[in-house]
Assembly symmetry: C2
Homo-oligomer: 190 residues x 2
């Protein structure tokens, strides 16, 4: 698609990956940059969603899928009204991610935030892996529950090989290439 | 507020009232008119919400409140991004409607669609009142569950006293008065 043709259109950046892979870290840098450059941004992160959309849902496959579809429903409503939406969700199952992709259409941008399980477990920012390996958290993605990686994500980021700022830059560049975002040079020239 | 100052801003039209009072009928006429005159409209009606946001919720007070808060959360996201949102929901409890009002702020427009219970039961479009009076539907609003009317709705429409088209016209005029919508004459002059 020609650069610029999607200018002003909404999009959904969907960050998927294991706990500890770096979804939130990267998405927060992206959010900061986008707020400086894009009129309308909404973030649907785990806490907001658990509180406002999915209270009562657990971690069975069905409940996880319901949660992801619900986030996708809201992301779609916003995207088609010109909003840039940032979603950070483990969203481990391919089928339901693809369902969200079909609903949102070409403005759905899947960002696979990828790091080996050992790396995520080593980071263990929230102390969850330790508990999961000790069997204290049932159905923990990557340990006792599956994670199905995307087959063809728009962006595949390997967070064990680069810094978060570099990963975020790739996301921003991708948005510029597709024309959702004007390059900074263009803004300066205008 | 001066006419026109809210031009282009989002809003939430929140239609509350008993089953059969006429919420859907009026909101559909309003929707049709708005689509012709306002760029961005989203309708959050009962079916859409039950399928996409609130599957699994029942009719206890807690579940009803959760349902209303969830609709309100999505309506708020859309409203603050410039979308005109139409909600039709019995939403029987004042406290939780007022919570949504506080979240959305001055762009929340409560439309009390009011008809006496006897009139709603007489219409009985969906055949629900017959079942409710026979005790076949527990917790049916107005029959076996309370409806708390708004104390100070932005619009109070009495559907036993006027036709739906007349009620819809009042809603449209209200949006024009507040400047969310340019009067048709102004459009013609432009």
């Amino acid at each position: 698609m020609e650069n610029g043709t999607r200018n002003g259109r909404g999009f959904t950046l969907w960050f998927t990956g294991l706990s500890g892979a770096g979804k939130t870290t990267i998405s927060e840098i992206v959010e900061h940059e986008l707020r400086n450059r894009f009129r309308k941004i909404e973030v649907l992160d785990g806490d907001i969603v658990r509180t406002n959309l999915s209270k009562g849902l657990g971690f069975s496959r069905e409940d996880r899928d319901t949660n992801v579809l619900r986030i996708g429903f809201v992301a779609d409503l916003l995207t088609r009204n010109g909003v840039g939406v940032i979603v950070s969700a483990i969203s481990p199952f391919k089928e339901v991610r693809d369902q969200v992709r079909r609903n949102i259409g070409e403005d759905f941008i899947e960002v696979f935030v990828d790091a080996p399980l050992e790396v995520c477990a080593e980071r263990d920012v929230k102390g969850l892996y330790k508990k999961a390996f000790a069997g204290e958290i049932p159905q923990f993605t990557g340990v006792s529950d599956p994670y199905e990686p995307p087959a063809a994500p728009e962006l595949h980021i390997k967070t064990d090989e680069e810094e978060p700022a570099e990963s975020a830059r790739k996301v921003i560049c991708y948005l510029e290439e597709l024309g959702y975002l004007r390059p900074v040079e263009a803004l300066n020239r205008a």
